[in-house]
Amino acid sequence: MLQVLQISTTILVSFAGIIFASAEGAPLGAVSVLVALFSLFFIDWQKDFYVTTFVASILGFCAFIAAGIEFFNGEIESRLLSGGHLIVYLTWIFLVQKKENRHFWWLFALGMLQVAVSAVLTNALWYGAALVGYTFLACWTLSVFQLYRATNDHIASALLTNQPRLIVGSTRKGLSRDVDHNLLNFRFFSTTSFVYVLSFGMAMLFFLFTPRVWIGQYSIYGDSPVSGKALTGFTEEVRLGDMGEILENNATVATVELYHHQTGIRFTEREMLDYFGSEPLFRGSTQEIYELGNWSHFSQTNLPMTNYSETAKIRQQIELEPIGIRTLFGFGNIVALSTQSEQSINQQPYSKVFSRRGGRDSRSVFTYEVLSNPGKVDLEAALERLSWSVQQKWEFREYLNRLSRPRRSLSRISELSRNITRNSTTQSEIASQIEAYLRDSGEFSYSLKLDIQDASIDPVEDFLINRKQGHCEYFASAMALMLRGNGIPARLVTGFKGGVQNKDTLTLQQLHAHSWVEAYIDDHWQTFDPTPGERNDSVSSLEGPRSMYVNMKQGFLNYWNAGINMSPTQQKEMIYKPVEGVVSKVGTTLKEVFDGNLTSVKQYFEFLKSPRQWVSWQGGVFVFLVLLFVSGLVWSLKKISRLLMRNWKRQLKQQRTYQQVEFYNRFRKIMHTQGYSQKPAETAQEFVTASLKTLQTKFVEVDLEHWPEELVQKFYQVRFGNQPLSEQDAEQIQARLTKMESALLETK
């Protein structure tokens, strides 16, 4: 069994190391595999070599120093990694020691911590799969460890040992096991698997129902406060790397239809294509503040949306799916937004970001209209800015100043930017030069891989200098920061690019999520998209028909993304409200049933009649509930029948012992008043014989000399002979008992 434990621990530690290495994108964690194998063969099995506790302590000290240096010399992410590296070093140190019980436990704990640190470094789908595998392996290893430790401890301590405090003796522990049984048998494996499956189910319930009550306003990657709520690609915060999985997700976000606003006539397919072009950009949120891989939104006053419907020519009717965000999207030169819903629409004057406010967050689709005119994106907004007050203009200038200031810590980006654009003279040329450098130079490529090469530097620096591959967020972030390095106000814009056009309807999917750049040049916001064209190929490949494997993967991915990006609002919408709804519905149904209204029950029966519903999730829930009910019913019936049976037997016993021999009980009571009690071991005959020795004279006086013996015979007949007393006999006995009672009382 020890060998199985050693092998399981080796696999567990190696697996944790691989997960950590994959999440970090560096090979350090994977070295654990080699160390674990070395430890297994040469330390655990061959016993050729091991590190003493003293040497291990020195190595541990060195590990702390190494991690400390890394911690104090790096930025936030690097600090996190230094913690992860320390865990890896400690794992190695425990591996190279001679293993006792505590070493196995420490290796398990350190492995778990490596997996936990990996959770911070990645949120890819593979991590979810690895986590499932790791937890099973951890459960198995812990079970084997528990079995080994319990049996081994007993064998080791099974000597006669004196216990100083317990001076009365000594003991030798015992161990009971079936000698012909292998301890690690099928029964053990099935028990462990069963426990794991239930644990996993329990864990999922915990994950879904644990309230997402985020503490404070801090992101794990930075020590600066964030103001947003949901962690999706379109909120007021963008974390580099977040969009990776969203870009592989084909869940629908919105559908768009176009109308001629003045006439109300719907756009034809051709007109739509002409207006949108091949890759329309649906603008959502802007991100102005950058720090260590995090973009966040510049806080501004929200103004209520005023309607300029008279001037607009095009009406974009957008149905937004419930994706848990308030930001609204629109295409082109937007004039205004409106909605028939109870929610109102606000706009932010400087960033031109639109959002919905008020009302209840609904699980239903939100429909709104975007009124726009042909022309460039900022055309209407530029006109609006002309009519601003002095204060607004001053604030806007401050806003621009903020967007044009490069951060000192990003000097390498600014330097690179200036080197690239040293031949350009105007801001417009500079912007085009940078866009071309990123998009067309061939130095950069599009990738959804999010590996970090140098965690000690800024992620955008890492992208520009080391990695040179990434998705749209990296390209857009790089361009925005490079523009700022040249003193040009720039901001990141998140939204959607492209879409699937089906006749006269355009469908936006999660995989169309995109980031690009807006730069304020010549008193206008100009749009730049530095992401290489490979992105469009990637998105197109995902839009088409897919194999079953891809669909399945996509299904898992959708669930994974839904869970891993779940915000408090989404949790409320996806988990708590449906549960609340079901409970409320069941309550209503029950109330109706009690009131005699069977409409709801009939609806349920109708539901059951439809075979299509049988394989739906509702069908699953129904079957589960029915099985639960049946099991509960069977369990209750068994309990009740057992209870009734016990009760009946007790009553029967009582009847036999007391009711049928009531006269004898009365006799005993009378004798008891005279100080004669029947002992438990005494038969009725013995009792009477013993008591008559002293009471014989009294019985003779009242002419009952031999009557007690006769009474005992009657008692035996009734009690054991199953011969009930005749009415006459019963009356006679009662009369004699009364006579006897009065005689004895007189004597007393």
Partner: protein
Amino acid sequence: MLLGLSLVLYEFRTGFIQNSLGVGGHVAILICGTAFSVWGLKEIISSHWPRFAGRGYHFRLPIEGGMYIIIMIVLFIGSLIGRSNPLMLVFSLMVGPFILNGWYTFTMLRSLYVRREIPKRIMAGETFTASIVLENRKTWPTAWLMNVSDSVVHASGYLSPEVLFVNVPPRQERRGHYQLRLKKRGKYQLGPVDVTTRFPLGLVERGVILSVQDELLVYPRTGHLKPDWRRYLQQSIELVSHVRPQTGPFNDDLYRIREYRPGDDPRMIHWRTSARMSELVVCDYKESRDRDLILIVDPWVSPKASDEESDDAERALRFATTVCMDHLRNSRESSLRVTLFGKKSVHWQGGTGDQHLETLLDALALFEITNKSLDDSLFADCDTNGRGRVLLITTRPEQVSKLTAGPDLRTSQVQVVGASLQSISMMYLDDVIT
């Protein structure tokens, strides 16, 4: 419990979860908080007042479980501060096994029955085996890694022998054994039995206390009588005037019959047996010097007894037990009377042979040492009618000698033996239990 109460009170006061997650979250948090509170209260009650704890289920968090919880808390707080759902997932995947561990241990402990098989009486210092039978009456699941911890309680201490049952399949029973060596004489109470398990993950330990009661009587440990004891006894016989029983020729007892050997006295030939067996058979006689023995044991200790005094008193009882056993086994014709002078004095009168030895040993095992002062009742039973000897084993020989030195004829024949190691070591080798 405090955590649960805090959750409920905080939610009632602020309605934080209700505002964040709606009525569903509000109800969920109230249910969780209440469940935590009730469970915590139950654990407190069961730990302080076990009789209110139903069948005696108890819960303990081993150090590994404590560490596991600390890691979970760190991950949970980290996920909330860092707004990290993946970290929350890792936390949840740790919580699941932890809860399942608790539930599974509880399920395994249900419908378990234990019985114990032990000898009724044993000698102090003897190693003996106790059998524990663990029965799993459930239809599911197998009971894994059940540690059955017995309790052996004596007035002066206790022991907790253990047996580990690796697995007991449903509707089956398994037998385990532990060995025990008890040093002190007296009555031992065995039970209750504590059945605990940590299977499968070792993060939570749950147990159930089952009332399986037994009693065990431990006799005083016997030692070895040295040749000097025999010599001492011979001397004492010479000193005592007695009437020899006329039970055989030459005033000796028939010892055995054996085949004739050249040189045997022809008068010793038993002719009737010789005729029957067709060979010469002689009667072999042995002089019997065994006399009736009255043994008075006075294991006195002072009110503030030191360990040495207690040792002397126990030694007196061990010596007395050894003498009694020796006498009853080796003396065929002489009787034994024993008086144990203590809190509740015991008078035992046996016949010849060792057929009543058990009652005497029971009395010696249960005898309570006294600190009461010396009086004449000590010698109430020492009249031998000149047929035997009186031996008094005492821890206060000086005081007793003063009494025996008096003119009373009854006490003058009493031989006093001190129970201290120094006094007794010449005659008696104490079998010390290590």
